[in-house]
Every structure is written in structure tokens, then in C-alpha cells.
């Protein structure tokens, strides 16, 4: 029988290596998989490219990876709230690829649903759209954005069943569903794992077919 639960957060990130690209769910602290973030810090792969909305805040989040020198590049929309990020960025020690938040989302979605890119009106005519191909459709300019995929995605959900079907808590859902579609190995940290049948198929938010591992984490 399929059972995607693994013993602990360390086992859940098995295979994560230096040079990998990793997606991390969360908007602020909501949806941040703190147990998995701590496990990555302990494993200490180097030269990571991290895709997440923010670049952490204080500690217990991506800021810790930045401080430990694990990250080469951040792809995000709003890194400004992380003091660690600000310091390293000013010292020229971190690469930044800034995307409007909705563009970040749709680029991941494109990767997850098999599209070669998207035509997006956001950023047309601005510095963030500069250098990207523009297509004009019915008189409106659209910027061509490329897909964004990752080797790993680490997510915070509320409940999983053995199949890996997920439900979330409130707005902690945020980036979980799209990241789950866009990474090779998808790991969900959850409050509890229930037997199959314990989640009504009508309320599944992320289908288990795209989730590879689930682990019961600490409470945020």
C-alpha cells in the first residue's frame, strides 16, 4: 500500500544536494515549513537557489540559510523584510531575481502544468520587464515569462493522508498548491497524517499524486 509518511524531517529531505533549486512555501510565517527548514540548515547543502515569496524574516526561516551561507540566489517578490538578506545583498554576496508576486506564481504554475511560458501584462513597460520578449495582443503588451521549476519543494500543510492528499490551515495554503505542481520532489510538513478515507475527497486541496513525502512536524 502506498504510504508517503517518512520518519522525520531529515529523511524527508533526503536527496537534497548542493546546487539544487528549492521552493519554500509561506507568506510571512504562515505556511512556512519550519521543521523542514531546520533540517535543511542541519544538512547544510551549499549553492542553493531558493524560490520563495520572501527571504525570511528573523530566525527559524530562510534567514537561517542565508546566515549559514547555503544560498547563492534568491528568486522572490519581497525580500526587504529580512535583515539578513538586506545585509548580504548590500555586500554583494547574494544574487536576487525579483519577480512580481503573481508572476512568480504563474511561472511556477507554467512549469507545473507543462506550459512553455506565459504571456503576462504585469511588468510590461517597467524595469522588471526589461529585456524580456513582448507580444502585443489586441493592442495590449504582454511580457513572455519562462517556467520556473525546482528539484525540491518544501511545504507546510495541516493534514495529509497516506496517499499524500493535503489540506491546509487558513491562509497558510498560499504557495503550497502551486509549488506542489512545480518540483521534482515534493515534501509536505503537516500537523497530522490520517489513514486514507480520513480526508473527504471533496476537500482535498493538493492531490497526493504530486506529493512525494509527508512528515509530521513541530507546531509553528
Amino acid at each position: 500500500m502506498i504510504d508517503k509518511q517518512v520518519a522525520d524531517c531529515r529523511a524527508a529531505i533526503d536527496g537534497l544536494s548542493s546546487g539544487h533549486t528549492i521552493m519554500v512555501s509561506g507568506f510571512g510565517g504562515a505556511g512556512m515549513p519550519r521543521g523542514l527548514v531546520a533540517a535543511v540548515l542541519e544538512l547544510a547543502p551549499k549553492d542553493l537557489t531558493v524560490i520563495s515569496n520572501n527571504a525570511g524574516f528573523t530566525t527559524g526561516d530562510i534567514s537561517d540559510w542565508l546566515s549559514a551561507g547555503l544560498v547563492r540566489k534568491m528568486i522572490c517578490s519581497y525580500p526587504r523584510s529580512s535583515k539578513t538578506f538586506v545585509k548580504l545583498y548590500r555586500e554583494g554576496r547574494l544574487e536576487l531575481e525579483l519577480n512580481p508576486q503573481g508572476t512568480l506564481v504563474e511561472r511556477m504554475r507554467a512549469a507545473g502544468v507543462g506550459l512553455g511560458g506565459i504571456l503576462n501584462p504585469v511588468s510590461a513597460g517597467t524595469l522588471l520587464g526589461k529585456g524580456k520578449p513582448v507580444h502585443t495582443i489586441d493592442g495590449k503588451d504582454y511580457v513572455l515569462e519562462t517556467p520556473l521549476k525546482a528539484d525540491f519543494a518544501i511545504l507546510r500543510a495541516k493534514r495529509a493522508d497516506r496517499m499524500g492528499n493535503l489540506t491546509y490551515n487558513k491562509a497558510a495554503r498560499n504557495f503550497g498548491p502551486v509549488m506542489a505542481m512545480a518540483a521534482t520532489t515534493v515534501v509536505a510538513e503537516v500537523d497530522e497524517v490520517v489513514e486514507n478515507g480520513g480526508i473527504d475527497p471533496e476537500v482535498v486541496v493538493t492531490p497526493g499524486v504530486v506529493v512525494d513525502r509527508v512528515v509530521v512536524g513541530g507546531h509553528a
Binding site: 526587504r80 536576487l96 525579483l98 503573481g102 506564481v105 504563474e106 524595469l127 487558513k170 491562509a171
Partner: protein, 211 residues
């Protein structure tokens, strides 16, 4: 010069929201508006991180940090509310499903250009968040900001010095001194605080005003 408090400006914005409108409040000062939207206004507030139909956290209610607004402050979801993922949330913006977006601003130009994500200084970390998506898709886009910078420089200008978030999108500006419409004929003052003269307001604004 005495100015309106942020809360006073938030009250003005809240009372200007049309009945039944779907509204997004941007990061910073605009998120304060949620406290002052009355239930009987039937306004549906969207938070970009995936919440529809919320209100400011009532006094004494236990915060849940999985239920936060764009500024990461805990809020309360109303009955009839919904949680959505960011694909749906940003789809609502670009897809034209929002009636009003209220955004903070570094600068707004006389034709409605908005700059609110970067000063262009290499030592300053840029942060765009959802601002460009909102500025691109909402039916009406209002700016909410101080009238001048801390050192007294006008934030309403002939043309923005900072990189643009979007061109020609702002139709109304709420500041701590006035409410100004951006019309094809230029900047028109709808309302100003009673203690400032038209001349004094013009002196704090780097583009011509009509009254």
C-alpha cells in the same frame, strides 16, 4: 504642519469604498483600512496571500498567525469568507475581478504613474510583492500615502524619479492633507484639511492643483 493620522486617512479611504466592492488593501498604510470598513458597507476585502472577506481583528479576539493580511498582521475572516491559493488570488487581480486596489506609494505623478517598489539606489533592496499585479488588473487604483516625505519633499510630482510600478493607473490619491482626483484635466483637490490653505497645499505638491 499638523497632518491627519494614518488612522484618520484610513477612515477616509474606508468610507470612500463603494458598496459591494471587492477591494484589495496593499502592504503598509493601506492594510490599516480594514479596521474601518463597516460591515453594512458590504465591501469584500481580499488579502493577496489568499483570503476573501475579512475584517480587522476585533479587540480581544485571539490572533491566528495562519490568518494574516499583506502586512502580516492577524485579521479575522467574516462569515461568508474564503481561503484561496495564490494562483486564484493573483488571478483575481490580473483577471479584472477587483473593483478597487489601495496601494502605498513613494511617488505618484500628475498623470497617475505609480512608483512604490524601489528607489533605484543599489544599496536599497527592492521589493515588489503584489503591487504590480494589483496596479495592472484592478478596475480602480487609489494611492494612500503621506503628502510629503519625512524631509518635506512632495510625493506628488510631475513625473516620477523612481522606477515605475505601472504607468497611468492611479485615479485618486488620499494623503494626510488632502484627497485628490487624477482627471484628464490634471490634479483636482476633492477635499483638504481645513487648516491648510490652497496655496500651502500647492506649495507641498510638485504638480499643478485645481480646487
Amino acid at each position: 504642519m499638523k497632518t491627519l493620522s494614518r488612522e484618520d486617512v484610513a477612515r477616509k479611504v474606508a468610507s470612500a469604498l463603494p458598496a459591494g466592492a471587492v477591494v484589495n488593501l496593499g502592504i503598509g498604510m493601506p492594510t490599516l483600512v480594514s479596521r474601518y470598513v463597516a460591515a453594512q458597507q458590504d465591501v469584500v476585502l481580499q488579502s493577496e496571500n489568499g483570503i476573501l472577506n475579512f475584517e480587522g481583528l476585533p479587540d480581544g479576539q485571539e490572533p491566528d498567525y495562519d490568518c494574516i493580511d499583506a502586512s502580516k498582521r492577524p485579521i479575522a475572516v467574516r462569515e461568508g469568507g474564503a481561503y484561496i491559493d495564490v494562483m486564484t488570488s493573483f488571478g483575481l487581480m490580473r483577471g479584472g475581478h477587483l473593483d478597487v486596489a489601495v496601494l502605498g506609494a513613494f511617488e505618484v505623478s500628475a498623470v497617475g504613474d505609480l512608483a512604490n517598489w524601489w528607489t533605484g539606489d543599489p544599496q536599497d533592496v527592492p521589493g515588489i510583492g503584489g503591487a504590480m499585479d494589483l496596479a495592472c488588473g484592478a478596475k480602480a487604483i487609489w494611492a494612500m500615502m503621506e503628502h510629503t516625505t519625512k524631509d518635506g519633499r512632495p510625493k506628488i510630482v510631475e513625473s516620477c524619479a523612481y522606477p515605475l510600478t505601472a504607468a497611468r493607473v492611479i485615479t485618486r490619491i488620499f494623503t494626510d492633507l488632502a484627497t485628490i482626483d487624477i482627471t484628464p484635466a490634471g490634479l483636482h483637490v476633492r477635499e483638504k484639511v481645513e487648516w491648510i490653505s490652497s496655496e500651502e497645499l500647492q506649495a507641498r505638491t510638485a504638480a499643478p492643483l485645481t480646487f
